[in-house]
């Protein structure tokens, strides 16, 4: 219906970012370091370093701006579009700043953290662009709550139906109703599956039973299997929904804390180069 953050304002912020990148590369090419190698200690190094540090502070400021609800300045969409493009431009600025001088030190730690934050940002961006549509289609117009309600109702129906089918089947159905977990641990949420899901197991067991049962019995079982299959479908759907939501959230738990670590490492780096260089 309308545009994603990438196309936003006809790529306005991409243009800005490209400008920043072009300037950084241009200067890098033009400049002729005194001792033959480019590094953070030259005028260019200081310049690019400063731009990089300012960019990082500005990128982090987004967390604040996002929560300044009702602020009259640009919309959050503007901010995010700029955040993404300028965040990516930072790779060029910072890398050129280092003059490709890496080592086992706090400077490179800062650089590595930065790359990590950017990487998680790219993950998030891809998630933001792809997941909403998948999620919408998976839900088919219902909300997660509604799906869960439907599942609870199917459980009740299954249990009613199992009543007359003997202990063993009752056990299976009860286990499926009571021990099926949607969500669960973070890893389960992200995977969207449950290797030993009682509902899926119940479905298989019931089918096996039906195959080996007498005709009259399997007749009775068929209804139950149909319900259980429907439930399995819904359970999978609900898990997928949880998974999508987790995908939309998970990377921020990396993106933000590592940003803070980056800020600390960066501060150390700057202090370090001024005092001990």
């Amino acid at each position: 219906m309308h545009q994603s953050i990438l196309v936003f304002r006809n790529y306005l912020y991409l243009k800005w970012a490209l400008l920043v990148v072009a300037v950084a590369i241009g200067l890098y090419v033009l400049h002729d370091p005194a001792y033959g190698v480019a590094n953070g200690g030259t005028w260019l190094g200081y310049g690019l370093g400063t731009i990089g540090a300012l960019l990082i502070v500005w990128l982090m400021w987004f967390g604040i701006r996002k929560r300044r609800y009702g602020a009259a300045s640009l919309s959050v969409e503007d901010w995010l579009s700029a955040h993404v493009y300028l965040g990516l431009a930072l790779i060029f600025v910072a890398t050129l700043h280092t003059g490709f001088q890496f080592g086992w030190n706090v400077h490179t730690l800062a650089y590595a953290l930065m790359i990590f934050v950017i990487g998680s940002g790219v993950f998030g961006l891809v998630a933001y662009l792809r997941v909403p549509d998948l999620m919408t289609r998976n839900r088919g117009g219902a909300t997660l709550d509604q799906i869960l309600q439907d599942i609870a109702e199917l459980d009740a129906q299954c249990r009613d139906m199992a009543m007359s089918l003997g202990d063993k089947i009752n056990q299976i159905v009860l286990h499926a109703a009571e021990d099926t977990v949607i969500g669960g641990s973070f890893r389960q949420q992200l995977s969207g599956r449950d290797a030993d899901c009682p509902t899926i197991a119940a479905n298989r067991q019931l089918q096996d039973l039906a195959a080996s049962a007498s005709t009259a019995q399997s007749e009775n079982l068929r209804g139950l299997i149909a319900l259980m299959a429907r439930k399995e479908e819904l359970v999978r759907r609900a898990r997928r929904d949880v998974r999508y939501k987790a995908l939309l959230d998970v990377w921020l738990y990396i993106h933000v804390p590592i940003s803070f670590a980056l800020l600390a490492a960066l501060a150390t780096h700057i202090v370090a180069v001024f005092f001990y260089w």
């Binding site: 309308h2 996002k66 959050v76 933001y128 549509d133 939309l248």
Partner: protein, 797 residues
């Protein structure tokens, strides 16, 4: 024969009680008849601990009973004490069922068969009416109730809820948390309820939280349960309690049975009263809410005044200072009576009003004294007030492209009626052509007046028809030229879903939509598909008239519609005489042809329009939509709304239906004719020039609007305190975080207290506009005007 009194006062609400108090203090023989066993039942029934407001502030209180803003319990206590102190002669459980006789000798019959006589009757029974009972044997047992204050009071009971309206649904669902609930619905679905409640109850039934008996109705009540008639025959449901929520019987029937006449059948019509509150039955007076004064203070003042009038003292009404204040800026500072007389002489539209009606009209209105060139309102403003010209005159800029083309209106004329009728933006800019005296009347007052005074309605309709035709169909054509066409116009009303005309019908007329909106659909591949949407202020049906072919599409009312039916032949004659009209039509015709061709290329658009119309967008002016293909479900929109509005989000992102990837969250649509405005006692719901429907500070928290909004977007809530700043939270952890509710405060203030209506105001006071949209990181949230949006959809842009 029963006792005899000088005055009998029926109903002990603020109006009746104040009248009785004044009668007692001045030594008039009186009786106060109240059908319940306590005073002032309407206020008695307010929610516990409700803060009762004493609006309007500037109106002085004139009564022997005291009243100021305070808690319901305190006010009722004070009134009980004062009634005892003044020795008010009150009779409880005395429902008046009939009034006969005439001035000086009335006979009142009570519910238990007693009668009493009196010289004067004061009618103060309010508007609440009587709760409708089940009408079956045993309906009055003590475990049967017709209202419910607090569902949490009941636990572990089997409760039968009878009814299928909003109240029944809300009660049943709330009770089902702790009880075993059976809801009895006379029909086979919950169609009468709001959409939100409908899905609430259907979900609860599906989940098995409560049981529903459809097509069932009560037959009689026995000692331990209720007997129902169901399609399967009689069934008994054993239960501990029956709660029947069947609505109220409005008091109008009873009032009419006493001989009092109403000017029209419209529910908004008020009985016609003299300047001293006397009805068409001499000796029978009406005050309070029933007389059209919906606030407590007004009712109390009238109680005092009416007793004075009965004793022959022609005191000035207590609202005199309000009028004095309004007229203060008039040159020469004339007395109120003089101004009123002058208005009545100058404005023919208002000539038929009684003094009382005119006073009320003026109290609600504003007086303006613009000088030459001052702008009264501008084209595309969203104001919906009505203007009368008492002195001077105005110029109307009818041509948007050329402000020098104007039509003048002089003394006695009125304008602004088109916005009132269509609920849409102003169609022209109006400025004063000389120093003038204008009266601006709010929409609600005008609607009340139109429905209460036949002559006002007639004159308004006549003028409005001509002006609409001139504005929308034949710009620049003088009124005389249109006369013949106008005379043949019929105003037709259509309900939602009604067909104005069908594809293939012969085209013999043109419809100008005066109010509401319609969808245009065509049969494509054997299926009816919506191809576009037409809003008020536009016409449909011109294609058949121009091409002399059968109708090329079906037109259906998207919401209740009022349309002007223009005779086809007369219209064709007009086009022959005036090529400019013909040209305009042909231009529109070509535009629509193109549109039709475009829309067949956008087959999915019809589905979207159809869906959105079903969601009520046909009456919306501005609606929040969410593109689910972009929405990352971060709820930042809701957080932004709460943060900018005292901690209460006025939108619910997740709730509401979705079609393809368009989601309609639960949020105000700023309707053309807002349902929420209908019953607001202090007229607190207003529309801003930009179109926002908002709740002003004068809200008294009665909850009527919450019930009346069909989209469930108004809530009653108390404002949460201001939070410490963002950095304080970030650095020192002070206060609740951004987007989080103030849990501590909620725990302390959650229930009761000074709740007021809260709803979306489109952030009218926030620079930059709607916070929800601006807070959406991915641009998924957007606010749209439906007719523009529909155009975009059907043109596939």
């Amino acid at each position: 024969m029963g006792e005899h009194f000088k005055v009998a006062i029926v109903g002990s609400g603020p109006g009746g009680l104040s009248a009785a108090g004044h009668a007692a203090v001045t030594g008039v023989s009186h009786v106060l008849l109240e059908q319940t066993d306590h005073l002032s039942d309407t206020i008695y029934k307010y929610q516990k601990g409700k803060l009762v407001m004493a609006t309007p502030d500037i109106l002085p209180l004139r009564s022997d009973m005291s009243f100021a803003m305070g808690i319901r319990e305190d006010i009722l206590q004070t009134w009980d004490d004062e009634a005892a102190k003044h020795v008010v002669n009150v009779r409880y459980k005395a429902e008046v069922t009939a009034i006969s006789g005439s001035k000086g000798d009335f006979t009142l019959t009570l519910g238990n068969g007693d009668t009493l006589t009196c010289e004067f009757v004061i009618f103060a029974i309010g508007l609440q009416g009587n709760l409708r009972k089940m009408g079956v044997e045993g309906e009055d047992r003590e475990w049967i109730q017709y209202q419910l204050d607090d569902p949490d009071e009941y636990a572990d009971e089997t409760i039968v809820v009878v009814g299928a309206g909003d109240a029944a649904i809300e009660n049943a669902v709330a009770l089902s948390k702790q009880n075993n609930v059976v809801i009895v619905n006379r029909r086979d679905e919950f169609a009468r309820a709001k959409q939100g409640n409908n899905s609430l109850i259907t979900a609860a039934i599906e989940k098995g939280e409560l049981e529903c008996l459809y097509s069932a109705s009560p037959l009689r009540v026995e000692d331990d349960g209720i007997i129902l008639k169901t399609p399967q025959g009689e069934t008994k449901v054993a239960c501990n309690r029956v709660i029947a929520r069947l609505g109220a019987i409005p008091p109008r029937k009873f009032v009419e049975s006493c001989g009092i006449e109403f000017p029209s059948d419209d529910p908004a019509a008020l009985p016609e009263l003299s300047g001293e509150y006397e009805s068409n039955v001499p000796g029978l007076y009406i005050i309070g809410a029933l007389a059209g004064y919906p606030l407590i203070k007004q009712a109390m003042n009238q109680g005092y005044e009416v007793v004075e009038y009965i004793q022959g003292n022609h005191v000035k009404p207590a609202d005199e200072p309000l009028l004095e204040e309004k007229f203060r800026n008039l040159p020469g500072n004339p007395p109120v009576d003089e101004v009123i007389a002058h208005i009545q002489d100058s404005v023919p539209l208002l000539a038929g009003l009684t003094t009382l009606q005119l006073r009320e009209f003026l109290i609600d209105s504003d007086v303006h004294t613009p000088t030459k060139g001052d702008i009264v309102f501008e084209r595309n403003d969203y104001t919906n007030s009505f203007f009368s010209i008492v002195d001077g005159g105005v110029d109307i800029q009818v041509n948007p492209d050329d402000p020098s083309v104007t039509v003048g209106l002089g003394q006695g004329a009125f304008f602004g009626e088109m916005g009132l009728l269509s609920g849409r933006r102003r169609t022209a800019t109006v400025l004063a052509s000389q120093p003038s005296l204008l009266i601006e009347t709010p929409r609600r007052t005008m609607i009340k007046l139109i429905n209460s005074v036949e002559a006002v309605k007639r004159v308004m309709d006549e003028v409005a028809v001509g002006r609409q035709i001139q504005t929308y169909i034949a710009p620049g054509i003088p009124m005389e030229e249109l006369e013949e066409l106008i005379h043949a116009v019929q105003v037709e009303e259509f309900d939602q879903g009604d067909v104005l005309f069908r594809e293939g019908d012969a085209g013999d007329c043109l419809y100008l939509i005066q109010r509401g909106s319609v969808t245009v659909s065509r049969e494509i591949g054997g299926k009816e598909s919506v191809i576009s949407y037409v809003a008020a202020g536009n016409y449909v049906g011109e294609m058949a008239l121009i091409s002399n072919a059968p109708r090329s599409a079906t037109i259906k009312a998207a919401v209740p519609v009022e349309a002007l039916r223009l005779d086809g032949e007369k219209f064709q004659q007009l086009m022959e005489r005036n090529p400019s009209v013909r040209e305009l039509m042909e231009e529109k015709y070509r535009g629509r042809m193109l549109e039709n061709i475009e829309s067949t290329k956008q087959p999915q658009a019809g589905g979207i329009i159809q869906f959105l119309v079903e969601q009520g967008l046909g009456e919306a002016t501005d609606v929040l939509l969410i593109d689910e293909a972009l929405c990352v479900r971060c709820d930042n929109c809701e957080k932004a709304c709460a943060e900018t509005h005292f901690g209460q989000s006025r939108l619910n992102r997740e709730a509401g239906p979705t079609y393809e990837s368009i989601h309609v969250p639960t949020s105000c649509r700023h309707c053309e004719h807002p349902h929420c405005m209908v019953d607001c006692p202090p007229d607190a719901l207003r529309r801003n020039p930009n179109g926002e429907v908002y709740v002003s500070d004068s809200c008294i928290g009665c909850g009527n609007c919450e019930r009346n909004c069909p989209y469930g977007v108004i809530h009653m809530a108390a404002p949460q305190p201001k939070k410490p700043g963002l950095l304080q939270w970030l650095l020192f952890g002070r206060g609740p975080g951004p987007g989080q509710p103030d849990a501590e405060w909620l725990a302390a203030h959650g229930k009761g207290g000074a709740k007021k209506a809260v709803k979306c105001d489109m952030c009218k006071d926030i620079e930059g506009g709607a916070s929800c949209v601006r807070a959406c990181p991915t641009g998924a949230a957007l606010r749209v005007n439906p007719s523009e949006f529909f155009k975009i959809v059907s043109q596939g842009r």
